[in-house]
Subunit: 235 residues, 2 copies
DNA sequence: ATGCTAATTAACTCGACAGTTAACTGTCGC
DNA sequence: GCGACAGTTAACTGTCGAGTTAATTAGCAT
């Protein structure tokens, strides 16, 4: 009886399905319109659910936005965790990571949009998320392990600050997508053409590997003991 | 008489001043609230001008937004043009450019916000700008000249694609600021502390110079070993 | 069946905001 | 020193959208 019922597909009532439908519609609406311009009426219409259900399940428009934001981050973290690069040479592992990131941004424009939006609003919502802790470590973990292997084997330089390094990789990968429209207009270029994406992959890999394999002599500021002065700028 | 009048400061009527006040207020309001959440009432109140004036001078909220966007781009272009790096060694010139960019983003959060916002809305307004042509060449010009000098003297590699290279520099510089809030929350770091900014400068300079001075042998193209599927594409 | 609760619905409230109207005033040319 | 127009004002309009109300229905336990 119970099994027969749960086996059946969407009847008239199904809490989980309704919730999920709302969340999916919200993901699209928010990432297309932005938080203020997105309308709950539109979201309800998009998924064929009564507007009241949004308030029933998510409390408010902001509650729904937060849920969508969290789901987007959960996706990313899940992906980054299941990546297996331990069997690759450090340099190849870095390259695999970069390609993974680029593929992810390419296939998940929602993520890119949410990231931009959330930053525009000063991470007001992310800051409040109860799941924040879950987003913290996973991101740098994989990179830190690759880095350590590469440093032990002498292939990578020793003085890499992991967080700044991680930010650099992300920057090189994501800014190409998050700013694709203004870049496309200004440089009159089809940013997402296969050829341009492939060029981008190669450029990012070369930027990162050349940095990691930079000879000591070439460094901007030899990381010996404490050096007070800065590279060039006055400040 | 005439000179006496034009010497006097803001009386009751002053078209240019009013227009300028509106524009300044719009810059703040739009970059803080975003296009949809920014309100013309708020802008009018901010600068102590009657709301009707916005429509008198700019036609509509979108017209005002476009004017603000253009003013922000004009600022940037003006700055990039007056930079004098011809007397510097190519490597030092690159470093100067990077520092200039970082300083600019640091001191002009409005610009960073507008860039994010405009990209979020798929460059819908930038695309319509009549001043678009003015924004195109200046940006890559300086870099192209530095690159050429460095290549002629043999200090830089020959196979640098200028646009992709320019995008990489921008990415490394701007993403740190445009995403500072989510990064700050996730890595529990004060992104704009003097120490972290200085570290960032050094990292970006090293990324860029190591790329430019990368030995042929190290390039991604015909890699020593089994490097991934994506790398080896022709351009 | 009967009653209880979770899920769903249509219809409503109310404030905010883009844009408008039309009256009014300072300034300048003549 | 007056007429015309650029610049300025307060008050208004209509729409849209977040959130609410209260009635209704499906399913489930007993």
């Amino acid at each position: 009886m119970k099994s027969r019922k749960s086996a059946k597909i969407p009847q008239k009532r199904n809490a989980d399905a309704t919730r999920a439908k709302i969340l999916r519609a919200a993901l699209s609406e928010f990432s297309e319109q932005g938080l203020p311009a997105a309308s709950t009426d539109a979201i309800a219409e998009r998924c064929g659910v009564n507007k009241r259900m949004i308030y029933y399940y998510f409390g408010s428009k902001e509650g729904l936005y937060l849920a969508a934001l969290e789901s987007v981050y959960e996706n990313l973290v899940a992906l980054e965790q299941e990546i297996e690069v331990e069997h690759l040479e450090p340099a190849a592992a870095i390259e695999a990571m970069i390609n993974l990131k680029i593929d992810y941004y390419l296939e998940n424009p929602h993520f890119v949009s949410f990231l931009s939006m959330e930053n525009f609003y000063r991470a007001r919502h992310l800051r409040k998320s109860k799941k924040l802790e879950m987003f913290k470590t996973p991101l740098t973990d994989v990179i830190a392990r690759i880095l350590e292997r590469g440093q032990r084997s002498g292939q990578f330089r020793q003085d890499v600050e992991p967080v700044d390094f991680y930010i650099s990789i992300c920057a090189l990968c994501i800014m190409y997508f998050s700013n694709q429209h203004s870049l496309g207009v200004i440089f009159e270029r089809e940013m997402t053409s296969a050829a341009n994406i492939e060029r981008r992959r190669r450029t990012v890999v070369e930027f990162v590997l050349s940095y990691l394999q930079m000879p000591d002599a070439m460094r901007a500021r030899p990381p010996r003991r404490k050096l007070g002065r800065h590279v060039s700028l006055v400040s």
